[in-house]
């Protein structure tokens, strides 16, 4: 274990556990649920934090870590749970681990969801495995006295994650699928406006694909409430040193900056993300992004 904590109380930053033991790896619908023993990480983790796992072993051609939202931590057992889809070779490798194998993990990383101190009614919106970090968030909100509704969406029933868990932790759960194979046919944003109004939500939390986040942020804005969106940008380092994971975000001063989603996110205030620029494919950043003018010179 590395990470520079002063003996006794854990330092705030992330830890690197080179040999986190795989305790459990099970199918969970279309996904895989993985439990790692990663001492030190649980007590530092809050909902929305992510971990970054090295994949493929020491002689792997895959150099970069893969990022996964933390699903749950159990400080007593020193475990971290993630839920993942097999997407490419890295996640395929992960899915082939067996209990007793070890994985190199760094975490917790990023900025977690903002959870107000006071009781806050909220809607939590998740696409596919995007629900993974939402259950503990729901528990936190509920513990502070807020009413919590969840909307889980996916392309198809098998790609929903945690519907039963949602029903345990939330006051109200809605399910949507693109193909209607579970819940309502449609998008998570379809029931969202009515749901916000019904429970009088002051906050919307969202985790899922970019298109969904953008739509959720728009709905929240139209209702005059805050959205906390966990984005998923390709990350090379996950710890803030490489500048690959940036997206245009408006700062307190009103200036748009290319902002690192690994350290300043992955959770952003949806109203601050410049979704318009993200959707643009011209290959040129507009002049109102700080420093975009300097790019024009060369």
């Amino acid at each position: 274990m590395s990470g520079r904590g002063t003996a006794g109380r854990p330092a705030p930053g992330p830890l690197q556990i080179r040999d986190a033991e795989v305790l459990r790896l099970e199918p969970a619908g279309a996904y895989h649920a993985l439990t790692l023993r990663a001492p030190g990480i649980p007590e530092r983790t809050r909902p929305g934090h992510f971990v970054a796992l090295a994949v493929g072993g020491e002689r792997s051609a895959m150099l970069l870590r893969r990022a996964f939202s933390v699903h749950r931590v159990r400080p007593a057992e020193q475990t971290v749970d993630i839920v993942f889809a097999v997407h490419g070779a890295g996640t395929a490798w992960l899915a082939a681990r067996r209990p007793g194998d070890t994985v190199d993990v760094v975490g917790p990383l990023g900025q977690p969801f903002r959870v107000p101190e006071e009781a806050t009614d909220a809607v939590l919106v998740a696409g596919g495995y995007g629900s993974a970090p939402m259950f503990v968030l729901a528990e936190r909100l509920a513990a502070r006295g807020g009413r919590v509704a969840m909307v889980l969406g996916a392309a198809t029933a098998a790609r929903l994650f945690g519907v039963a868990e949602a029903r345990r932790v939330a006051d109200e759960v809605m399910v949507t699928t693109d193909d209607g194979s579970a819940g309502e046919r449609g998008l998570v944003t379809d029931p969202l406006p009515a749901l916000i109004d019904r429970i009088g939500a002051r906050l919307v939390y969202a985790c899922g694909p970019m298109g969904m986040l953008r739509a959720v942020a728009r709905v929240a804005r139209s209702r005059g409430i805050e959205s906390q969106c966990a984005v998923e940008e390709a990350m090379a380092c996950g710890i803030g040193v490489c500048m690959t994971c940036v997206l245009p975000v408006v700062g307190e001063d009103g200036v748009t900056r290319m902002t690192r989603s690994c350290v300043d996110g992955p959770v952003f205030d949806g109203a601050r993300v410049r979704w318009d620029i993200l959707a643009d494919r011209t290959g040129v950043l507009p002049d109102d992004v700080l420093g975009a003018d300097a790019m024009r010179a060369h």
Binding site: R4, I239, V241, V246, D280, L285, G291, M295
Partner: protein, 315 residues
Amino acid sequence: MGTTLDPGAVDLAVDLAGLRLPNPITTASGCAAAGRELGQFFDVAEIGAVVTKSIMGRPRSGRPTPRMAETPSGMLNSIGLQGPGIDAFLEKDLPWLAAQGARAIVSIAGGTVEEFAELAVRLRGQEPVVALEVNISCPNVANRGQVFACDPGAAADVVAAVRAGADPAVPVFAKLSPDVTDIVAIARACVDAGADGLSLINTLLGMAIDTDTMRPVLANHTGGLSGPAIKPVAVRCVWQVHAALPHVPIIGMGGVRTGLDALELMLAGASAVSVGTAIFNDPSAPVRVLAELRQALAERGIAKAVEVIGLAHRR
């Protein structure tokens, strides 16, 4: 050289054109920001030096995303030198490095010879700055964007201007691109123009196409290839330049992941070694590489790191 030594007894200090570093391991520019984030994983004063992300005069947004693609044993990046500009760097980043007791090798970049020179001047007398690394792998505004590092004349102009502007006590390293027909010619031009040392190598120009979207992965189309994939090119460049200019100190880099990789670059002729992309795989890579290098030297019975510099040329 002979029987195994106690690793603790190995003298790792190296000299880079008069600059004495406690050990030869540094971060590679652009792979460690200005050190602060890595400070969560290890004490940045423990390594030879922190080479900072190339800084330019003004704040820069960098390029649109996607900016990276993983490739076999490597990655492509097209960050476009995103950074806060020299003012913010001097105000926020350098003082942090100074407070840690770290040694900073500041990488500078510019679109014109003047911009490079101004940066060198601004960095005069800044306490933790022990050397400048001149990133000449950037497009020359005056010459249709041709990269300075690809033309001996342009490279020499930049180096001469930086050398003239910089604190005379601070060595200037010119960082070369491997994407040239004759790297020795560029190296010579830089040394003749006043470079005290050379940093080899920057990334190779590469590209990836997404076979699903059938479009380039990177918003900028091409990007810089780094990581273990390019290590053989780095070793070759260091070897060639050290053979031609044996008295010029070299900071070697390109694909270093282990202490043995660092040793390989030193055997080829590097006096110091930067760890870049490997940090993304392992945030404590610089200190791990350092420990592994120490161990490797001890196992080989080598009492001083300086003994292995260029050793493969002499055996």
